[in-house]
């Protein structure tokens, strides 16, 4: 995978009457045959970054370097249908490029076929449903055979099934064409669904970028940890061997020796196990189930432990998820490799640095 688009020392300042927003990216690259998810809450600067990558907004400072051939194109958060048929929408950019008719036909048909909207080719684009329009926007972009495809919240207005199908189609297209895809989203699950790498953007600052699992399991700081779903964040005092003491009765071994001092232990909900009957993981004691909720697929357990509120998930309607009731005592365990340690930064104020 080679870099096809690189942002270096990028700085974008956007002023309005009410506010001033600054986006700062020291280095971020998009690579061929890879999906990069840019994750951030609303107003973090995701769309601004995407528009800069697409060449639609000029950076205040720094540069975005194109490497290699092929166009860069973008699909907006609200897919836009141009007046005319679905086929017209897919082929118009190709016609504007002056491509020969057989080539236009081939690319248009392939794109329509790939995103499952061939049957809609003659239909007015403005008559499509939200999901169909989303597919049209992707087909229109793919027909250009881009080197870089940028997608702004591509899963909006799609139900769970639609998101899964779209994600699969996108992965297939990436594998077949080698296109570099950038997806911005505020939704962690959607980012995880499609991405190879994740870049985390908070308040206009790129806080972390890396392989998907590395970012999910080893967030760079507290804010990133919260954004990537590491919701169990426990303040602890670490000794030289890496034992994190929560209070007189509770501690968690981290297996990560370092300088003694305060910090935080981060555990993803899916990594916190309840009931150690089968002997999996390292037991950390018992907690009390204080809340139980289920969306029919996943049950979320809220457990009080050592004065902390921890969360974990079970598959809904099976095993423990069927038997547990609020107030039950449950045993908690985890694997050492699933424990993430965050040390206090010299600046303090909740800003944390990952343990070396």
């Amino acid at each position: 995978m080679s870099a096809v688009l690189v942002a270096r020392d990028l700085r974008m300042i956007r002023r309005s009457v009410a506010s001033c927003f600054e986006l700062k990216i020291s280095h971020l690259e998009m690579r061929s045959s890879e999906v990069l998810a840019v994750l951030g809450s609303n107003g973090a600067g995701k769309s601004t970054l995407l528009r800069a990558f697409a060449g639609l907004e000029e950076p205040t400072a720094g540069e975005i370097v194109r490497q290699g051939q092929g166009p860069v194109t973008m699909v907006f958060q609200r897919p836009i249908a141009l007046a005319g048929s679905v086929l017209h929408n897919v082929s118009i950019a190709l016609r504007a490029q002056g491509l020969p008719s057989p080539e236009i036909r081939r690319r248009s048909n392939e794109a329509l076929e790939h995103f499952g909207i061939s049957k809609l080719a003659a239909r007015p684009a403005t008559a499509l449903s939200g999901g169909e329009l989303r597919r049209l926007a992707l087909a229109r972009a793919f027909a250009l055979e881009p080197a870089v495809l940028l997608l702004d919240e591509p899963f909006d207005d799609l139900d769970a099934g639609g998101q899964e199908t779209l994600s699969r189609d996108l992965r297939q297209a990436v594998a077949q064409t080698g296109v570099a895809v950038g997806v911005v989203t505020h939704d962690l699950r959607r980012a995880v669904l499609v991405s190879d790498r994740i870049a985390v953007l908070i308040d206009g600052q790129l806080r972390q970028v890396g392989e998907r699992n590395a970012v999910l399991n080893h967030p760079a700081d507290l804010k990133v940890a919260r954004l990537v779903g590491m919701s169990n964040l426990i303040p602890a005092e670490f000794d030289a061997q890496g034992l994190g003491t929560i209070d007189a009765l509770h501690s968690i071994p981290t297996g990560q020796p370092g300088t003694p001092g305060p910090g935080w232990i981060g555990i993803r909900p899916e990594h916190l196990k309840v009931d150690v009957g089968r002997g999996e993981g390292t037991a950390i004691g018992e907690g009390e189930l204080v809340e139980f909720s289920s969306d029919g697929l996943l049950a979320t357990l809220t457990i009080a432990w050592a004065g902390q509120t921890l969360r974990t998930h079970l598959v809904a309607g099976r095993g423990l998820a069927r038997d547990l009731r609020t107030g039950d005592r449950v045993s908690l365990a985890l694997r050492l490799e699933d424990v993430h340690v965050l040390r206090d930064s010299p600046q303090g104020e909740g800003e944390l640095l990952p343990m070396a």
Partner: protein, 218 residues
């Protein structure tokens, strides 16, 4: 003054169509680009300009006629052109009457597009000339509305064309000024004949445009 005969009616009708057609084409030629520019750009003073355009929509045609007549009057700033009581002066007045309507309706059509429309078209790598064509295609219903409104405004207008054209027989006499003249003379049959033609023209043209508009919406 004799009753209106067939050849005179035809001549007045054709002149009306020629003058109004010229005014309409020129008002569209000026108004559409200005409307697109005003509708798609943000800049200081834009609201003031839009306010002026909206005020222009309500400007009394007779006042427009007065200003244009003053402009082309022998002692006026453009008197040396000797266009007072000419079809050119009538066309100028009609353009000024139709222009605010065209601009305002085009601005509304452009403003009703998705705010990311232009960016999306740019993101597809479509060259500027094609982008303009796509934009016109996109706002075509608004354009049709502008044509209907402008045509209605200038075809039925009488005050301004009387002031600038003078209702000269065989030169600047159009349907509205002729109706006014025959009414004053008490030749109501001629006036009704002209009125029927004017109404017929309005109905045919507006009906045609509405039919096109309806066809687009389906």
């Amino acid at each position: 003054m004799a009753e209106l005969d067939g050849p005179a009616l035809l001549s007045i009708t054709l002149r009306t169509l020629a003058i109004c057609g010229s005014s309409l084409v020129m008002a569209l030629g000026l108004g559409v680009p200005i409307g697109i520019w005003l509708g798609s750009r943000q800049f200081p003073g834009r609201r003031t300009l839009l306010g002026l355009v909206n005020s222009g929509m309500g400007a009394p045609p007779v006042v427009v006629g007065l200003l244009v007549a003053q402009l082309f009057y022998r002692s006026g700033p453009l008197g040396h052109l000797e266009l007072w009581y000419s079809t050119q002066a009538m066309v100028t007045a009609q353009i000024l009457i139709a222009l605010p309507l065209v601009i305002a309706l085009v601005v509304a059509a452009v403003a009703s597009l998705d705010e990311d429309w232009a960016l999306q078209v740019r993101a597809l790598g479509i060259p500027p000339i094609w982008r303009q064509w796509l934009l016109l295609r996109e706002i075509r219903l608004g354009l049709l509305a502008a044509v209907i409104a402008a045509l209605g405004g200038i075809l039925s207008e009488v005050g301004a064309v009387m002031q600038t054209g003078g209702n000269l027989e065989g030169e600047t006499r159009v349907l509205t000024t002729a109706i006014l003249m025959y009414t004053r003379m008490g030749l109501f049959e001629s006036a009704y004949a002209l009125a029927a033609v004017l109404l017929g023209l309005m109905l045919v043209l507006a009906g045609l445009l509405t039919w096109v508009q309806y066809g687009e919406r389906k």
